[in-house]
């Protein structure tokens, strides 16, 4: 049974933007696409740990601000010639609020 944690209002994140949330085990980046979808990923690029929440969001991908690796928001997989994957967590929007599945805290504890 999944339980959802209310994180913030959708409008707290700009369109094609991201914000970061802190957890006991590190930071998670929450992205908002042009189509108002939200995605939650570990806020660290698999390349050199760059803060993905600071990257440019385009389509359903984000470009890491440090060395321009492009990461799929849907799968967490690095696109193109580079390789790697970032952990993704279930996120959704309901009544203009961003909800994260509480299991992401567990998943991170196990990692």
């Amino acid at each position: 049974m999944s339980t959802w944690i209310d994180i913030a209002a959708l409008d707290d994140i700009p369109l094609r933007g991201a914000r970061m949330i802190k957890t006991a085990l590190g930071c998670v980046a929450i992205f908002r696409t042009a189509g108002d979808e939200v995605y939650a990923l570990d806020n660290a690029c698999p390349h050199k740990g760059g803060p993905l929440a600071e990257g440019i969001v385009h389509g359903r991908a984000v470009t890491c601000p440090l060395h321009n690796w492009v990461i799929s928001l849907e799968t967490g997989k690095v696109q193109g010639a580079d390789e790697g994957q970032v952990a993704t967590y279930a996120a959704r929007v309901e009544n203009g609020r961003i909800l994260l599945d509480r299991s992401f805290l567990r998943a991170r504890a196990a990692a």
């Binding site: 944690i5 994180i7 913030a8 707290d12 994140i13 700009p14 369109l15 094609r16 933007g17 914000r19 970061m20 949330i21 802190k22 957890t23 006991a24 930071c27 929450i30 042009a34 189509g35 108002d36 979808e37 050199k48 740990g49 760059g50 803060p51 600071e54 990257g55 440019i56 969001v57 385009h58 389509g59 359903r60 991908a61 470009t63 601000p65 440090l66 321009n68 492009v70 849907e74 799968t75 959704r92 929007v93 309901e94 509480r102 805290l105 567990r106 504890a109």
Partner: protein, 811 residues
């Protein structure tokens, strides 16, 4: 004995329920129908044609008096229901109570009124029913100006109708593009363009602060203090379910009256239908699901099993000349792909959203002839794997062989027009090729084909390829990125010649193949747009690299560096003290002196940025833009103030230049220096723009660099006065802003256009120099301000984490 049914509200949903009831079992119920409006059921969807004058009220009546009489329905129109008494099972109207066995609530929705001053003034109306429509028609007969607040479906139909009736109409929309719930940005751009062609003005990101007027509405004031005159204000910002009666009766109400799949409320004898209900978290505003609900309610009232399910919806706008269609779901869900098709020439845009080989959403603008076919694919969840490659072209292309673009060009007749701007046909191009014009440049020179807006460049190249076969090598010009086949130069030319003033306009008119660009093209487009259209275009922080979005340089560990501006490299003990205090307060690990005569505070945490900026601001310092593709620093030597060799006041001139140029955005970073004598202690000859003072005046050189390439400046001109130095430098900076490719420093741009080309504009032609200076000043009137102070004031919150769950347990 017959059961008693009372219905509250005679709208389209309850009207359909009654039709089903009397159709299937006319003897099942004694029916009493209340309606607050003094009339029965009419087709509300057709109010827009009534407003525009294409139809009259009589044309849109669904149930007239005869119909109600023929079916023995007791009508209590123009009477408000004041209470539902569930104990006594009766409905209380203004003229008395009536008992029920079953009750149907169909109270519909109420327009949302934004709570601003002046909302109750005469002349401020909403757009829900016939009375509103008649009020608008009456107001339009007096002519004048109308302001429509809300750029959704209803607001735009009201705006178009009022414009049709001769009013001067402005639409205010809070969001960045029109109908943002149904359309994406690209389609929103085309809609806005077509409405403007009809004379409807559109202002997006417009937040209404107040409605002005004494005895009658006179105008609207926006949050940014823009004032608009208005003789009529139409509020169409949205609707909310009308739930007051249900609430008072103690039924379960969330946003709407909560119902189960049988449309029963929390009281099983009370049903609800239409816009007043909420089912499974969903509200309903379009007619299709309301009719589905009506059928289920009728079946429920007759004791038959049925269940309501939420289906896919589609939207069309009823404005002549604005052809749009939107269906399906664009939100939530992973693993989706977009297919985008744009035909700039015809103003056509199509976007399909696909998930697991099923079409789940479609937006179409300009040509919606295939919309029913696409909607069918969405509704039926058809597997589209087989036709994926040609899906976007519609049903006509299915089942055939894939199209070869070259074969299509080869098949064109000689009189087919290739270049619309210059009216050049295929035959003329073929003749030019036969006459020896064997590349694009030559064809352009001979025929002018593709020499204006450039959109037909690809076509001209294809004609070349068809005519010359293997002798024609397609040009190797690099497109900006994978989103487009156009080069930077092509796109800059399009932005200027076609007056493209928004990102969505560029994507559409230049045929971008992605829905919203990528990290390579977006920063370039953002710069081109703000450089060419400083007043029309609004800077988009989300299209900027993090350094320019957060006004600090990101470091490898995700911290930032902060560099306050020191005009001309001059500082004071007070400023140094403030910098030292800030460094200690925010535990800055490294303090370094830069090559540009500034002090760099390295290792500041992102969430501390607004704090440290506020402290530096308080000491009189502003952002040093050490992170920007824009003016960085003006480095100086001490000049005649102290130096025994100094020939001019190099420090003073450096400070003046920096105060004029700071805040400006340029294609790449822009570094200046002013040296007080040819000994050149400020290293002015390896700067983008460098001034070397001599006894007789000032030598201005451009195109220096000391980075990956080391370049010495070349002399642009020697002038006699400081004022001339400042004008020439502003002019050359503006010429660079208007013409260079994004991420070319001045020396690269100069290699392409030549020093003589630049001289001709900023040295020889004084009229052109003055015009460049004017355009630079216009841009600076917007951009010459401190972003730090602005972010401290407006955006400090966005630098903090969105939430802190450090103490949150996993279970």
């Amino acid at each position: 004995m017959k059961q008693k049914l009372v219905v509250i509200g005679a709208g389209m949903a309850s009207g359909r329920v009654l039709e089903h009831l009397v159709d299937q079992n006319p003897d099942a119920y004694d029916i009493t129908l209340f309606n607050a409006e003094p009339r029965g059921n009419y087709n509300r969807i057709m109010l827009s044609p009534v407003l525009s004058g294409e139809k009259a009220y009589a044309d849109i009546v669904t149930h007239d008096d005869d119909w109600y009489a023929a079916h023995n329905i007791t009508c209590r129109f123009g009477e408000h229901v004041t209470q539902i008494d569930r104990e006594a099972k009766q409905v209380v109207g203004q003229n008395g109570a009536v008992a029920y066995d079953k009750l149907l609530i169909a109270t519909g929705s109420a327009p949302f009124i934004i709570p601003v001053q002046g909302k109750d003034l005469p002349g401020v109306i909403t757009y829900r029913d016939l009375d509103d429509t008649n009020a608008m028609i009456a107001a339009s007969e007096r002519g004048g100006k109308a302001v429509v607040i809300g750029g959704g479906l209803l607001g735009l139909e009201a705006a178009a109708g009022l414009a049709e009736r001769g009013m001067d109409v402005t639409v205010l929309h809070l969001m960045g593009h029109l109908m943002e719930r149904q359309l994406d940005e690209s389609a929103g751009f085309l809609l806005r363009r077509d409405l403007q062609k009809k004379g409807v003005k559109v202002i997006c990101r417009a937040s209404t602060a107040a409605i002005l007027g004494e005895a009658h509405v006179e105008g609207v004031m926006l949050e940014d203090n823009t004032g608009l005159e208005a003789d009529l204000v139409v509020m169409a910002v949205g609707i909310r379910p009308e739930t007051r009666l249900a609430n008072d009766a103690g039924l379960e109400v969330a946003r709407g009256i909560e119902v189960n799949a049988q449309l029963q409320t929390s009281d099983p004898d009370i049903f609800a239908v239409g816009e007043c209900v909420e089912f499974d978290g969903t509200l309903f505003g379009l007619v299709a699901p309301l009719y589905d609900q009506a059928k289920v309610v009728a079946h429920g009232l007759l004791g038959q099993d049925d269940a309501f399910v939420v289906k896919e919806l589609s939207t069309k706008l009823k404005v002549t000349g604005c052809d749009l269609f939107s269906a399906g779901d664009f939100a939530d869900g992973e693993g989706r792909e977009d297919i985008v098709f744009r035909d700039p020439g015809r103003g056509v845009y199509r976007r399909l959203v696909i998930e697991d080989d099923i079409l789940i959403g479609a937006v179409m603008y300009g040509d919606t002839s295939d919309s029913n076919w696409f909607f069918g694919l969405i509704r039926d969840k058809t597997d589209i794997a087989e036709m994926r490659d040609t899906l976007i072209f519609g049903p006509a292309y299915q089942g055939g062989t894939p199209l070869d673009p070259l074969a299509a060009v080869a098949a064109l007749p000689r009189d087919a027009e290739i270049c619309g701007c210059n009216g050049i046909c295929k035959g003329q191009i073929e003749d030019a090729i036969a006459g020896g014009a064997i590349d694009l440049g030559a064809v352009r020179a001979v025929t002018k084909a593709s020499a204006s807006c450039g959109t037909c460049t690809g076509l001209v190249e294809q004609v070349l390829a068809v005519s010359l076969g293997e002798d024609f090598v397609l040009p190797t010009a690099q497109p900006i990125c994978g989103c487009t086949s156009m080069t930077h130069e092509d796109v800059r030319r399009m932005i200027k010649s076609q007056k493209l003033t928004s990102m969505a306009a560029v994507w559409q008119e230049c045929g971008w193949t992605t829905s919203c660009g990528c990290h390579i093209c977006r920063p370039a487009l953002n710069f081109y747009l703000l450089a060419d259209w400083p007043l029309e275009y609004q800077d988009d922080p989300q299209s900027r690299f993090v350094n320019e979005r957060k006004h600090a340089n990101i470091q490898k560990d995700g911290t930032f560096s902060v560099v306050p501006r020191m005009w001309g490299g001059i500082t004071t003990p007070d400023e140094l003290r403030a910098i030292a205090d800030a460094a200690e307060k925010y535990a800055v690990p490294t303090v370094k002196v830069t090559g540009g005569q500034r002090i760099d505070l390295l290792g500041v945490r992102g969430e501390d940025l607004p704090g440290i900026w506020a402290d530096l601001n308080a000491a009189g310092m502003v952002s040093g833009h050490a992170y920007s593709k824009g003016l960085r620093t003006v480095k100086t030597c001490v000049g005649t103030d102290h130096c025994r060799f100094g020939t001019q006041d190099s420090t003073g001139l450096g400070i003046k230049l920096e105060k004029e140029l700071w805040g400006s955005w340029t294609p790449h970073k822009l570094k200046l220096a002013v040296s007080g004598c040819p000994r050149n202690c400020a290293e002015a000859t390896c700067k983008d723009i460098g001034v070397v003072c001599v006894d007789s005046g000032y030598q201005i050189g451009i195109g220096g660099a000391a980075g990956m390439d080391v370049k010495e400046t070349e002399l642009l001109v020697q002038v006699a006065t400081e004022a001339e130095v400042i004008d020439v430098i502003k002019a050359v900076t503006q010429a660079y802003r208007e013409n260079a490719k994004y991420l070319d420093r001045i020396y690269k741009w100069m290699n392409k256009v030549g020093l003589d080309w630049i001289k001709a504009r900023v040295v020889d032609d004084l009229t052109e120099r003055a015009a460049l200076v004017d355009r630079f000043e216009l841009s600076q009137s917007i951009y010459r301000k401190d972003p730090w102070a602005d972010h401290v004031k407006r955006k400090a919150e966005t630098y903090r984490p969105l939430a802190n769950l450090s103490l949150e347990a996993a279970e």
